[in-house]
């Protein structure tokens, strides 16, 4: 794992011109030092073992349940193995990978995954930032508005997909077209446009439903970021005559940057793996099949175990790129908190 540069938080602080560490910081440092000091020099191997013992069950469990199956997937990805032809099973070399990469469907799925993830993450990040900035200030009923905004994230994803598919997008009685009819009727027209959202813009339909679900996630993390900023600095800048725009550009945004990165990356990790929305809304049809859905379809419908495994490995490689960045961001925030 790449170690993040330790200089970064300090540099960022210097850039912002923060007058020393925020309150509470020294206490945490002292605490950290104290925990380190409990490692008494007298302890031998037995003590180290007793220190490790509480960790082991979780570690062993996790390796057994997540890492070993992946090794299995890796092995099967090099095998010729289709459940519909059980006798023809053996080592296939790179055949599955070759087949996967020459398959136009998989290439389309890769592209869909990239587009879907990028659009959903960027749009919900932008909306989330706006909402977080709104929610950061005082107004009447703030708690209630916050609760309303969190709600989409708490609706079970499968239920949310059904809701969008049937109650909102449906061409003949969904809320979207229903509202159009209603609006047009207000102006005395009975010729309201009634587009079939799911078949005319299927990918956008999936994206909108996911943006609805993921914006609250971005809002929550960015709001936490905003509220961790020390109010004194903003106050000082205000006193020095800085306008809202200047405060945002020179104080809020630099402070928020790593929270923006964090929410974007954690969001990407989840959206890139999305299965529920694609499965429920379109069943992968109309060019909306992403990588996880394609793996599912190859495995569940085509029963081609070798090929599905190769696609699974490809999905892991794609996710690893995002995951590396995510881990680095988390670790830089983490280092700062523990410094």
């Amino acid at each position: 794992m790449a170690a993040p540069s330790d200089a970064r938080p300090a540099g960022a602080a210097a850039e912002r011109g923060t007058p020393g560490p925020p309150p509470g910081h020294p206490a945490r440092t002292a605490h950290g030092a104290r925990t380190a000091r409990t490692a008494r020099p007298v302890q031998g191997r037995a003590a180290a073992r007793s220190r490790r013992a509480p960790l082991l069950p979780a570690l062993v469990f996790l390796i057994a349940v997540t890492q070993l199956p992946f090794v299995g997937t890796l092995v099967i990805s090099f095998m010729r193995w289709n459940a519909l032809a059980p006798d023809d099973r053996g080592f296939g070399g790179l055949d599955n990978y070759r087949a996967a990469f020459t398959d136009p469907d998989l290439r389309a799925a890769l592209l869909t995954t990239v587009v879907l993830t990028a659009v959903v993450v960027l749009v919900s990040l932008a909306l989330g930032l706006g909402l977080a900035l709104l929610l950061d200030g005082p107004f009447r009923g703030r708690g209630l508005v916050r609760t309303m905004i969190i709600t989409p994230f708490l609706v079970v994803p499968a239920a949310a997909a059904l809701l969008w598919k049937h109650a909102l997008y449906n061409a003949s009685y969904g809320l979207l077209n229903g509202s159009l009819t209603w609006l047009w009727a207000l102006f005395g027209s009975d010729a309201a446009p009634q587009p079939d959202w799911m078949s005319s813009v299927p990918l956008v339909a999936v994206e909108v439903s996911l943006i609805w679900q993921w914006t609250p996630f971005m809002t929550l993390i960015l709001l936490a970021g905003l509220q961790s900023r020390s109010p004194d600095t903003v106050e000082a800048a205000r006193v020095d005559g800085a306008g809202s725009r200047q405060v945002f550009r020179h104080l809020t945004f630099p402070h928020l940057r790593r929270y923006l990165e964090l929410s974007a990356l954690l969001g990407s990790i989840h959206v890139v793996q999305n299965f529920d929305a694609v499965f429920t809304l379109t069943s992968g049809g109309l060019g909306t099949a992403n990588l996880p859905y394609t793996v599912y379809a190859t495995f569940y419908q085509a029963h081609d175990y070798g090929r599905a495994s190769a696609e699974g490995v490809i999905a892991v490689v794609c996710t690893m790129v995002i995951a590396t960045f995510a881990l680095r961001t988390v670790s830089s925030l983490f280092k700062e908190a523990n410094a």
Partner: protein
Amino acid sequence: MRGLTAWCCGLIFFLPFAWMVLTSLHAEPDAATNPPAWGAPLTLDGYRAFFGAADGAAPWPPLLNSLTASTLSTALVLLLAVPAAYALSIRPVRKWTDVLFFFLSTKMLPAVAGLLPVYLIARNTGTLDTVWLLVVLYTSMNLPVAVWMMRSFLAEVPVEIIEAASIDGAALPTVLLRIVAPVAAPGIAATALISFIFSWNELLFARVLTGVVAGTAPVFLTGFVTSQGLFLAKVCAAAACVSLPVLVAGFAAQDKLVQGLSLGAVK
């Protein structure tokens, strides 16, 4: 001005959910109309139809499966995560940050990456279509998040008390149960709720690895439309019922939700 904008945004985000609840409370003919029948009389028929569904399509077994899988895996998660977090924060092992990041990296492994071997192992051990299989998988899915969350909660437990107890001869289980657990109780509760929510929401594993016996609520929900034909009020009632536990848990854990979602990186 800020308040007004915020209220409008809040209402826009809330609208689809509100529409789902309103539709679920309409009679079928009023639910599927164009233009929408905003003011149609309310009825609980949708819910009655959902819970009264006969012929093996009753929602109770899937809801019970979800409840069992989520509760048991949450219990297992806590059982494994609390000691692990203790070893990573209160009396840290060497290289504890590396171990912590290893936990996180497993969370980032796509679920599809292990799906097939898990399926084959389950089939060969006869655990396919059992809740136990889901319990194990959901535990592994939530353990990394739980360890991360618990670590930041346990960091707030004063080390002096634990040292004093150790000197008095208290063994680890006693320390965890008598000292760590009571002090970190709110954190443990938040971790439990988030783990419960993620398990309850899961669809991919449940869809592939369960069937008629151990199918969970989300699986039931996705199959609901095809098996029943489309009755909008009933579908909305079903979606609302399945979401209810998560909504309650989520609203309860609102403040701690962020910490869980950001893997403890943001406090």
